[in-house]
């Protein structure tokens, strides 16, 4: 079975500082990893995904994520946080033999303080 862990329920960062939202995964075979963001009362918006190749993936709104196979991690990062980045962030994984749907983590609330 495949699974995703987001160890932090909430991350607080001052505006302008770098941010990291952590994600670790468990999957059989090669992982396909995704990050989504959810603003209040809205659906999920796609940020970025890792399929293969370069371990550093760049996505929307200045976000990037680093795939680390040995640590089975896919942490989301941004060099300089904005107040508008405050939202709920979900990491998700898909792998061979799993269900056709994505397996999501429980989400991390990111709060950027002015």
């Amino acid at each position: 079975a495949q699974s995703v862990a987001q160890p932090e329920d909430q991350v607080n960062v001052a505006e302008g500082n770098p941010l990291t939202v952590k994600c670790t995964y468990s999957v059989s075979g090669n992982p396909y990893l995704f990050w989504y963001v959810q603003y209040p009362n809205r659906g999920l918006q796609f940020l970025l995904k890792y399929i293969t190749g370069d371990n550093l993936v760049k996505g929307s709104y200045g976000f990037e994520a680093e795939f680390n196979k040995s640590q089975t991690s896919f942490h989301l990062k941004k060099p300089s946080a904005l107040v508008s980045d405050s939202a709920l962030y979900f990491c998700a994984v898909r792998g061979l033999g799993g269900a056709d749907g994505l397996t999501f983590g429980k989400g991390t609330h990111l709060i950027i303080q002015p």
């Binding site: 995703v4 396909y32 995704f34 989504y36 009362n41 809205r42 659906g43 999920l44 918006q45 796609f46 995904k49 399929i51 979900f90 998700a92 898909r94 792998g95 061979l96 269900a99 056709d100 749907g101 994505l102 397996t103 999501f104 983590g105 429980k106 989400g107």
Partner: protein
């Protein structure tokens, strides 16, 4: 272009009643997914459609839940004899995925239907 749309946006029902939730995928997307998001939880996968066929129903929580899709268009998720534990946001997603592959396809989500069972 238009994104995934869902209706109604909110639904309040009494325990024991049946409800239907609707999803309109992005035009041309062959794959359609339903998920459930309970308060404070991540998304749970419910069912996947490729065209109007549902090869993966593994996530449906009970036989009270069913779903249909018309061709590569609208899908309806039906919950019969609703229970209070069915209260959640139901999200629909679509992707251009072609049959036989594309684990890597990005899924695009609708705004969800918030279901409250009293």
């Amino acid at each position: 272009g238009a994104g995934v749309s869902q209706s109604p946006s909110n639904k309040v029902t009494e325990k024991g009643k049946d409800v239907e939730l609707r999803c309109d995928p992005i035009s041309g997307h062959t794959a359609l997914y339903w998920y459930r998001q309970r308060l404070g939880q991540g998304l749970e996968f419910l069912i996947y459609f490729q065209g109007n066929s549902a090869p993966d129903k593994s996530g449906l929580p009970s036989d009270r839940f069913s779903a249909e899709r018309t061709g590569e268009s609208v899908s309806t998720l039906t919950i019969q004899r609703t229970q209070q534990e069915d209260s959640a946001v139901y999200l629909c997603a679509s992707s251009p995925r072609r049959s036989g592959g594309a684990l890597t396809d990005t899924q695009y989500f609708g705004p969800g239907t918030r279901l409250t069972v009293l």
